[in-house]
Symmetry: C2
Subunit: 220 residues, 2 copies
DNA sequence: ACCTGAACACCGTTCAAGT
DNA sequence: ACCTGAACACCGTTCAAGT
């Protein structure tokens, strides 16, 4: 009975962020509070503040943790420009759909940490090798990232916001569609019914193809 | 002295949402609380709940209010596809940069209300007229919207999150850049220095051009 | 160096009343 | 129909201590 068999692995920024991401993955963003996080780590809330200055920094840590999961080894320097860019975009998308609940955080906060910026550097390298001028490459990577985030959002929907007012995302979307008058929203209704026949992945590939085609400099 | 000269214009969903947007525009998202909003309207917090079910609905109202500001009259049915699409995207961007503080809300919540969906319908019509199959048009509009939002975010930066820890967005960005090793982040540093020479608008136009070119069906 | 206790100044929202 | 009062169950964070 020397020491309590508690999980006193000692706190650290890393352990805190990991647990935070675990909570977000399991129960959504709203479940992540400093108090809940602390209790999950078997510690008093204020203990966190020794390792993390505030909740915003915790969010930055989550962004970094998610972005770090992107497999940067996918970049094959020998492959053609469009293939490299698509591969990188797909790798990004994969980690986003793996952490759907963290999507709003990742999308809202521009990457601040080295870990989060490493995939950005990879994308920029690809764009440079593809002949995109340096001045344009930041917008370009922003556009690609925006496409990936937008596609991921379509796929995962947001459980953030309305907690759950007795309706699944599909239900709610269907309900909205039902209230739209066919005279005012013909295209929307047509698109909504057509889209259900195709996989989200196919839609993402469509958008990715269009974007990469547009970014590819005209062959000279 | 019949009645007090208070601004008792009677509450309404519309008035509540308008005041909410005013607060967000003036002081940022974090300043918008039900209690603050109520006091600004000269009313007790609970009065709001008669007109708005909860805060999430308030956010939806803000999204609708912002999206409704998009000038849909810009769509000239006689113009060529790419011109129409670009014009619509620019109109969207204009309202986003006019309400920078509301950007995270608009970007995070897919439009739920008819007012917010009207510009979406316009975009879908343009895409349909441009020959985009209905099944693909929703991704396409998502991509365009994502581009606009991404460009707007680059321009306005987020004052959400870290309140203000004694540093402007530019300062912080510069500080981050300073910590990056030139060996590991050569492209990022080059892009960051090159980008400052160009206006955000020029960057947006670059991305928009690329995207529209990619979306335009190959001439047959 | 690392963690705790107690407190402060807030939140959104429910529930029962008032008019 | 429209608004109020009082309360509940939370928040993030500061500040002074403990070891």
């Amino acid at each position: 009975m020397a020491e309590e068999p508690r999980e006193r692995t000692a706190l650290s920024r890393r352990r805190i962020v990991q647990e935070a991401l675990r909570i977000v993955d399991a129960e959504g963003l709203r479940a992540l509070t400093m108090r809940r996080l602390a209790s999950e780590l078997g510690v008093v809330p204020m203990a966190l503040y020794y390792h993390v200055p505030n909740k915003a920094a915790l969010y930055d840590g989550i962004v970094e943790a998610v972005m770090s999961e992107i497999d940067i080894s996918v970049d094959d320097l020998a492959a053609p420009f469009d293939q490299r860019l698509k591969k990188a975009a797909r790798a990004y998308r994969e980690v986003l759909v793996a952490h759907p609940n963290a999507l709003p955080v990742v999308a809202d906060r521009s990457p601040n940490t080295t870990g989060a910026l490493r995939p950005v550097e990879t994308m920029l390298r690809i764009l440079r090798d593809g002949g995109i001028p340096a001045a344009d490459s930041l917008v370009a990577v922003n556009v690609v990232a925006a496409l990936v985030q937008g596609a991921a959002r379509m796929e995962v929907q947001d459980d953030l916001g309305t907690p759950q007012e007795g309706c699944s995302p599909e239900e709610q979307q269907a309900r909205v569609a039902a209230t739209l008058s066919p005279e005012e929203f013909p295209c929307l209704l047509e698109a909504a019914s057509a889209v259900s026949e195709f996989s989200y992945e196919a839609q993402f590939e469509f958008g990715l193809n269009a974007l990469v085609r547009g970014l590819t400099p005209p062959e000279r």
